[in-house]
């Protein structure tokens, strides 16, 4: 009893998600598909044998794929009580059919179960042929599976991650992500920026902020792949109020920074251009995405690109 009285924030969030899932999931995703069916000409004894064999509590009665009735344990008990277990299924089946469509959302089935006194729903396709059977248990299992599959794991991680900064006490807390970027590794180009974007979303960052960081880091990452002597490193420092991104390499440095910042100016080779790069928009894009950008470059020590996004003042 006291368990029900205390509802944590996490539980509350979960209930809403279950309700949402009811609207998202289709009946076809949670129903049982290998349906045991009876034929109307079968005897009730044969039906009873099937029920025992398959450990079910009832089944739809079909003729040419169409549902004509449904037999539950109650109907069997009636036949046994009457001592007429040798009679046909068509004599004892319930003909008052309540069905649902496979393409309907789960919430529709929940409404039917709430209103009508039925234990199972035959599920039909668009041609009214039987394609499945749905019980309340199927819905519970389906919802739990869905929660487990695509939500719970991610959400729990995210919940933990987004509370990371609150849970740790220090004078200044930050999380640093580092990635080594290899020269000419077009195969993995974008992997680091994708990881960074996902990390930010896990940490509860605004989607727009994560997108801006993703774009800025992607351009920096591709610059390291395309334009450096030996590749370089990406370093992202996440703090509660700002994200600092840094890309550094050991050469050859940028000849003319002002030119490099001109939209359309590119030093990319023909081969690189054929891959879709070299639009001459890399640094321009970065500057548009971040709040602050600084470039330090020299032939001797290579290029350091610093980018900062402040989380308390949204851009655009």
């Amino acid at each position: 009893m006291s368990d029900q009285a205390t509802l944590s924030d996490n539980d509350a969030g979960m209930i809403t998600r279950v309700e949402e899932l009811g609207y998202e999931l289709k009946i076809s995703q949670v129903m049982t598909t290998n349906v045991v069916t009876f034929s109307p000409d079968m005897t009730m004894l044969e039906a009873l044998n099937l029920i025992q064999h398959h450990r079910i509590s009832g089944a739809p009665v079909t003729m040419n794929g169409e549902v004509v009735g449904i037999v539950s344990t109650e109907d069997l008990i009636r036949a046994l009580r009457d001592g007429r277990i040798d009679r046909k299924v068509s004599d004892y089946m319930s003909k008052n059919l309540i069905t649902a469509k496979a393409t309907d959302k789960v919430v529709e089935a929940l409404r039917i179960f709430a209103k009508k006194n039925v234990g199972r729903l035959p599920i039909l396709d668009e041609n009214n042929k039987l394609v499945g059977l749905l019980t309340k248990g199927d819905i519970t299992n389906g919802l739990l599976d869905a929660l487990q599959r695509d939500y719970q794991a991610e959400e729990v991680k995210r919940y933990r991650a987004s509370h990371l900064f609150e849970d740790i006490e220090s004078d200044r807390t930050s999380l640093i992500l580092r990635y080594r970027i290899i020269k000419d590794d077009f195969l993995h180009g974008g992997a680091a920026s994708n990881h960074i974007k996902r990390a930010l979303l896990r940490l509860g960052a605004d989607r727009q902020v994560a997108r801006r960081c993703g774009i800025a880091v992607y351009e920096a990452e591709m610059n390291l792949i395309i334009h450096t002597n030996n590749g370089g490193f990406l370093r992202v420092e996440i703090e509660p109020h700002k994200i600092t991104m840094e890309a550094y390499d050991d050469g050859p440095g940028i000849d003319d920074v002002e030119k490099a910042l001109t939209p359309g100016f590119s030093t990319a080779s023909e081969e690189v251009r054929n891959k879709g790069f070299g639009a001459g928009m890399g640094l321009v894009n970065i500057r548009a995405c971040v709040d602050e950008m600084t470039i330090k470059t020299s032939k001797e020590s290579g290029t350091n690109l610093y980018m900062t996004i402040y989380l308390d003042k949204p851009k655009n």
């Binding site: 195969l187 997108r211 992607y218 891959k275 879709g276 639009a279």
Partner: protein
């Protein structure tokens, strides 16, 4: 907004990646360019991207920008690694022998016109 399934019903496109429930994928707008940096700034999430580029960088950019589907035009062929990565990232790759211009025209006729994400 159109379901990707509707696009596939109306425009002849070869699906290169695994078959999924295309009716669940919503396309809100479109974008076309063969320069990745331009796509970076110009393309919106949930758009369909029409391009001639067929290499693995397309998947990286689409994944980063949450672009659910890419139409690769003029029969440009992505390699197996690109298709595998697209499957992994849940991005649908489609192929057509016709050019980007024609495809954009067909999509426009189908009603994918809006480029304002707030509409």
């Amino acid at each position: 907004m159109l379901a990707l399934q509707t696009i596939l019903d109306n425009i002849e496109l070869k699906v290169l990646t695994d078959t999924v429930d295309f009716s669940e994928i919503e396309i809100h707008t479109g974008y076309t360019s063969d320069l990745l940096s331009c796509v970076m700034t110009g393309a919106q999430a949930e758009c369909i991207w029409i391009t001639l580029i067929a290499n693995i960088n397309v998947v990286a950019v689409a994944s980063l920008l949450e672009i659910p589907a890419v139409i690769i035009t003029e029969n440009a062929q992505p390699d197996a690694a690109t298709i595998a990565r697209a499957n992994q990232e849940g991005i649908v790759l489609l192929s057509t022998p016709v050019g980007s211009y024609q495809i954009v025209g067909r999509l426009w006729e189908l009603g994918i016109k809006d480029t304002d994400p707030n509409k």
